[in-house]
């Protein structure tokens, strides 16, 4: 029992899970109806569902980001690629139509395929710069972070393109089995990525490359291929998130769609226990991280203040979680444990 508790508390997910729990409990006291879930027209409504639903884009970005960070990199471009995906999909649906349309210019599956293919290719390009040209990830992805929104605006002609094409709205606003569709999409993405990383050797290779790329190469792992796959996955995730985001508002907003989402995704990953130095990664942790971020924002909304004030609280929570995970505190804990052992005549090797 004792061992189980120790194993639980030493787990990387523990501090993140605790943080999420504290925020949720805090919310329960803050507003009465927080836990209540009602059924309206056969759909579940409630704040918990809302948090889950709204955190989906960041959660999906964080899924890709987790793999990227595990290789010791960072993908700054995913927020911009999210905007690009929205812009691209809606302009494909609109085609040459100048008015808000209710039909799609090209078959809908094609819209989705093209959009996802484009963002995946952008991701592959990032991976190429990192893996083949040996450019630092932050720098390599900075290019698309800057240019991505420019290209998105180029596609939309710098207008906020809207559409009324009904099938498109299903992605971000539809319902399935009483729950919002985005939740299912997020679950599917997670499941696929989890399966791909943990039920094949891919996860092991990613971690090996993240810890020591040179040794991984000597062991016969094609490091640059691993990196290119990882960045492509991140691009693909950005595409999926972009479709959900744009479908949620039925509008391509190249300027503001997913603004700073890359930072939230990185944050979610780090909160979830994956180190920015690379190595071990925790997909589940990243999901919890994304939930923490959204739950926090949500609880700030309960106060009557500007939504941006939430950032202050976010800053404090992040500081606390990051400090708990920091080597400084780990050393401190070790020292305390060590002292105790020494006082108790602890064993000497």
């Amino acid at each position: 029992m004792n061992g189980l508790i120790r194993k639980l508390t030493s787990s990387k997910l523990f501090s993140a899970l605790m943080a999420l729990l504290v925020i949720l409990i805090f919310n329960v006291f803050l507003n009465r109806g927080f836990l209540s879930i009602t059924v309206v027209d056969g759909h579940l409504f409630g704040q918990l569902i809302d948090i889950l639903n709204r955190s989906v884009p960041v959660m999906i970005l964080a899924t890709g980001m987790t793999l990227v960070i595990a290789t010791g990199g960072t993908d700054l471009s995913c927020g911009a690629l999210l905007a690009l995906a929205g812009a691209l999909s809606i302009s494909l649906i609109r085609g040459s139509s100048t008015i808000v349309n209710e039909y799609s210019a090209i078959p809908f599956p094609l819209v989705i395929t093209i959009t996802l293919a484009v963002t995946t290719l952008c991701g592959l390009w990032n991976g190429f710069l990192v893996a083949r040209l040996g450019i630092q990830p932050i720098v390599a992805t900075l290019i698309f972070m800057t240019a991505g929104r420019g290209i998105a605006q180029l596609i939309t002609g710098a207008r906020n393109l809207t559409t009324n094409y009904a099938p498109y709205s299903v992605i971000g606003q539809g319902w399935l089995m009483m729950l919002p569709v985005p939740i299912f999409i997020a679950a599917a993405v997670l499941l696929v990525v989890w399966y791909f990383t943990r039920r094949t050797a891919f996860g092991l290779f990613v971690e090996a490359v993240g810890v020591n790329a040179s040794a991984a190469r000597y062991s016969g792992i094609n490091s640059s291929m691993i990196l290119m796959i990882v960045y492509s996955i991140s691009g693909l995730c950005a595409g999926v998130a972009g479709l959900i985001y744009a479908s949620g508002i039925m509008c391509a907003d190249a300027n503001n769609a997913g603004l700073n989402y890359e930072l939230d995704a990185i944050l979610a990953t780090v909160l979830g226990g994956t180190s920015m130095m690379g190595g071990r990664f925790y997909l589940g942790g990243s999901v919890i991280g994304a939930l923490i971020i959204m739950a926090l924002t949500k609880s700030i909304y309960a106060f009557d203040v500007a939504p941006e004030s939430a950032l202050v609280v976010k800053a404090f929570v992040v500081v606390v979680v990051v400090l708990i995970q920091s080597p400084f505190f780990k050393n401190w804990r070790d020292t305390v444990k060590n002292r105790r052992a020494a006082v108790g005549g602890g064993e000497v090797r």
Binding site: A201, R280, R349
Partner: protein
């Protein structure tokens, strides 16, 4: 007693008494005493984990002590940081050159204590003084160029120049020779002797026993964080030193001898006049099943490069590499692994272990890489495989889930061997497999090599230790200046002397 040049001998500069240091779970230093006299070179010996580095770090203020007294010139001191220790008069130079490659040589010598003119750095004085500091060692370089434009030996000199710049009385050299070639070591020793002549106390740490006997006046041996004793070099024979380091009468290496090769075996890998750009020139050799082929030569002679070629890390631009008689092109390590070639790289830390991952993951890595991403071994199969090799090689780890970086150097090396054995190779390339591990583990690894050879594997054994090569090789390829200059068979007088002759033979006098 006073030497002719007026420097008092036998005067103690640095004295450490009852030093204690405790780390989580480890009593790293247990009441260790150590004295250093003026004008002596004092070697600090011990296996990995004996506490040498910890002691040095306590003396230079990297760590605080958990007990004991440090006296410098009779006064008690409490060094708080390397900088503080330096200001007291204790300077240190570490194994890897710990300088900044991007700034100039002059700045590296004076970083943090640049001569100032008012609030600003006085560049002119700085460069003049740097030039002078290096002239002392007969090193003549442009001090304004960045450090990384010079070879490692010069960088080492710069590090020593930095350590000596402020009137240091104690100089600590922690494994300074591990990346130097013979001439560079000789040069370094000249400087060290010169400094001894000037009355400096020098603490010298190395893995090379020969060097200890070449240069030191006294030897202090540590074992498991405890002091074994301090001896005059002349009164402690080599075998005695090793015995004291290991803690038992030990000459395991004596039992290690080559496997006799009776019948001719099939050729596994053949290089035919292989050259690679900036790597090796015109090398031809054959590696046969059931033999150990030794590679002798100085650092940089091309021995590692040959192994790299056979493992697809470097690529030849002329000549042919043949595997079992047919020409192959090894584009990457993965290609080599698919053809059942295995390679333990020279730099274990950089190219070998994946520190954050577990022993199990490290062991299955190459095997899994051969299978590819989708033919994933289940956890159960992984544990079976890992446990099998942990047992087979006697890897000292509580379980297969231990982080590999928590193991000792020798055990890490065994994990790498296990990684390769798991791929069931036919050819094993071992580049310095015994470097930086303790004597007991060395013998184990060499025995294992011979076992593999007996089982019919073809083994290339690269080592700087001629003694080891001579003991286990059936044939030795001698390399110099990126080319093969000779080959000695076990029937043609394979001993250290002949190898040295071969290496020296081609040299211009």
């Amino acid at each position: 007693m006073t030497e002719p040049n007026g420097i008092p001998r036998d005067e103690i500069i640095l004295e450490a008494k009852g030093i204690e240091k405790i780390f989580p779970g480890v009593h790293a230093l247990n009441k260790v005493d150590f004295t250093l006299k003026r004008g002596e070179i004092h070697s600090l010996m011990g296996e990995n984990g004996a506490g040498k580095s910890t002691l040095i770090k306590c003396l230079t203020g990297v760590y605080g002590t958990d007990g004991g007294v440090i006296k410098f010139n009779g006064r008690e001191i409490h060094p708080e940081s390397p900088l503080h220790a330096m200001s007291i008069g204790i300077s240190s130079v570490y194994q890897e050159v710990n300088l900044c490659p991007n700034i100039s040589v002059a700045e590296n010598i004076f970083a943090g204590r640049q001569p100032m003119k008012g609030p600003f750095v006085d560049w002119k004085t700085l460069e003049e003084r740097a030039g002078k500091a290096l002239e002392r060692f007969d090193v003549n370089v442009d001090v304004r160029r960045s450090l990384d434009s010079y070879p490692i030996a010069i960088q080492q000199m710069v590090a020593i120049a930095r350590a000596l710049d402020i009137s240091a009385q104690v100089l600590i050299l922690d494994e300074p020779t591990s990346s130097l070639d013979k001439q560079e070591v000789a040069k370094l020793f000249d400087i060290v002797r010169k400094l001894r002549g000037e009355g400096m106390g020098i603490i010298f740490i190395t893995h090379f026993l020969d060097q200890v006997y070449q240069i030191s006046d006294r030897i202090t041996v540590l074992r498991n964080g405890e002091l074994v004793g301090t001896y005059k070099t002349g009164e402690l024979p080599k075998i005695g030193l090793v015995t004291k380091m290991v803690g038992k009468d030990f000459d395991d290496l004596a039992n290690v001898s080559r496997v006799r090769n009776e019948s001719p075996h099939d050729v596994m890998i053949a290089l035919e006049e292989v050259s690679a750009y900036q790597s090796v020139e015109n090398v031809s050799l054959e590696l046969r099943r059931g033999e150990v082929l030794g590679f002798a030569g100085l650092l940089g002679s091309g021995r590692t490069e040959v192994a790299n070629l056979m493992f697809g890390i470097e690529h030849n631009n002329s000549g042919v590499i043949k595997l079992k008689g047919s020409a192959v092109r090894l584009a990457s390590p993965k290609d080599a692994i698919l053809r059942r070639i295995a390679f333990c790289p020279e730099d274990r830390k950089r190219d070998g272990v994946i520190g954050e991952l577990s022993v199990r993951e490290n062991i299955i890595l190459a095997f899994q890489a051969r299978l590819g991403i989708f033919r994933f071994k289940s956890l159960r199969q992984q544990y079976e495989l890992a446990d099998k090799y942990i047992k087979l090689l006697g890897i000292a780890t509580p379980d297969a889930d231990k982080k590999v970086s928590d193991l000792s150097g020798g055990n890490q090396q065994k994990v790498i061997l296990a990684r390769w054995l798991a791929t069931e190779p036919e050819v094993m390339l071992l580049d310095e497999p015994t470097r930086g591990i303790d004597v007991g583990a060395k013998a184990e690894i060499m025995k294992l090599t011979l076992d593999l050879c007996r089982d019919g594997m073809a083994i290339a054994f690269i080592s700087s230790e001629l003694d080891e090569i001579v003991r286990i090789s059936n044939r030795v390829v001698v390399m110099r200046d990126r080319a093969k200059i000779g080959e000695i068979d076990e029937d043609e007088g394979l001993d250290q002397e002949n190898i040295l002759k071969a290496i020296a033979g081609g040299m211009a006098v």
